[in-house]
């Protein structure tokens, strides 16, 4: 064996090319191997490959301009959601794969009775990424739906849709009985029994809310596989109408569509 380090005769661009064939976490881990790996890991060749397609168009739709010094910088900036389309949606990327994530703001959703001030109130909250969120005052027919064109999602990717919400202080009868959520794309439909609050008693099995890192709660509505994005709209629906009971206190942040990470 030569005294010289292996790979030290390879040009840095060659190492960058190799790293571009792995994944974002692999590149970040490999950057701690040695200084040649560290400097190769900064290359635009790598991060350009991890950034999703159609990005220039998305950045053009951003509410505030996105400045970045390199493709890697851009990649890491987009891990935090940016507002697009006049603030009606947010966009971010998933850090392990670079796949696209979106959240539809409540103004971009269809909410039954959402336009009637007696039933729903539009408020602004400092914890929200959007300028307005919807607070439920009183309804017995609680239904929310949204859709997103599969074409704008990452291809060959399994996604899940989540209802993102908070339970307000004056919440009443949200957790019982169960609600039903569905996600539909093309011929595929996925249905979930969901509970907005932890179940009080045993009975039907279903999804329960999980706490998110941004302080909101989320509940899984269903999943779908986006092949080439040519199947039209993904339709997502949440319906809490059983028993005809009056409910109040739900605060809706939006519906998030994000890739499933293995």
């Amino acid at each position: 064996m030569k005294g010289q380090d292996l790979f030290s005769n390879l040009p840095e661009g060659c190492i960058s090319h190799i790293l571009s064939l792995t994944s974002p976490p692999d590149v970040c881990r490999s950057s701690a191997v040695s200084s040649i790996f560290l400097s190769a890991s900064e290359s635009d060749i790598i991060w350009e490959r991890f950034l999703p397609s159609g990005l220039p168009d998305i950045l053009n739709r951003s509410v505030s301009p996105i400045h970045f010094s390199s493709k890697k910088d851009l990649f890491f900036r987009l891990l935090d959601p940016i507002l697009i389309d006049e603030g009606k949606m947010s966009f971010s990327i998933e850090r392990k794969t670079g796949s696209k994530c979106y959240m539809l703001s409540p103004r971009e959703l269809w909410i039954a009775w959402g336009g009637t001030p007696r039933y729903w109130k539009w408020i602004s909250l400092p914890q929200s990424r959007f300028s307005e969120v919807a607070e439920l005052l009183n309804v017995c027919w609680l239904e929310i739906s949204g859709k997103i064109d599969a074409h704008i999602l990452s291809p060959k990717t399994t996604y899940k849709a989540y209802l993102v919400f908070k339970i307000g202080e004056r919440a009443y009868r949200l957790g019982y009985p169960h609600a039903v959520a569905s996600v539909k794309l093309g011929g595929h439909e996925s249905n979930n029994i969901v509970f907005l609050q932890q179940k009080l008693s045993s009975g039907a099995d279903g999804q329960v809310p999980q706490e998110r890192s941004d302080g909101w709660m989320e509940i899984e509505m269903g999943s779908f596989f986006n092949d080439e994005g040519e199947e039209g709209d993904v339709e997502m629906n949440f319906k809490h109408v059983m028993g005809g009971l009056w409910k109040r206190g739900l605060i809706v942040e939006g519906i998030e569509i994000r890739p499933v990470c293995n």
Binding site: M1, L6, F7, L19, L21, T22, D26, R29, A32
Partner: protein
């Protein structure tokens, strides 16, 4: 003299490795290398083409893989098999891998560059920096402070 071809119909190119061994290679195989292609365009074709950066054992490997690569066209099974051989070579003999990669880079052979790059990429996936260094005999040239800082910055990637 080593011959890598039985065919008499196609043109034969003569090449000499850095350790003086002479190879006769079919033109179609030799032209996979953009370096050799350029040298031939510069009219070195009637002479023996010297390859001062490639030793005979490594050149054998290059030729062997060029042929394998040509055979596997449109054959998914073979492609898979060839791709999976990298892990073994990298584990058992990283030195030869590194020499092969350097030779492929020097000879500028696109198909083999893709293959050997994929080998190392597959090998790196999911491994810790320490394990990569250990298996590939790479020296850690960071100071402890630098290393700690890089690990801290990329902590998310180690979950």
């Amino acid at each position: 003299m080593a011959s890598t071809s039985n065919s008499t119909s196609s043109k034969i190119i003569t090449l000499r490795s850095s350790d003086g061994e002479v190879f006769e290679v079919e033109e179609s195989v030799a032209l996979e290398s953009n370096l050799i292609r350029r040298m031939m365009e510069d009219d070195c074709a009637n002479n023996i083409i010297p390859l001062p950066n490639v030793t005979a054992p490594i050149f054998y490997l290059v030729i062997e893989h060029c042929k394998k690569h040509a055979e596997m066209k449109d054959n998914k099974e073979k492609k898979k098999e060839l791709r999976s051989q990298g892990e073994e070579l990298l584990k058992s003999d990283p030195h030869t891998y590194s020499n092969l990669m350097e030779a492929v880079n020097y000879l500028d052979i696109k198909s083999l560059m893709d293959l050997t790059a994929q080998w190392l990429a597959d090998f790196l996936k999911g491994k810790s920096p320490r394990l990569i260094r250990e298996l590939l005999k790479i020296k850690n040239d960071f100071t402890p402070e630098e290393e700690a800082e890089i690990l801290e910055r990329n902590r998310w990637a180690f979950d």
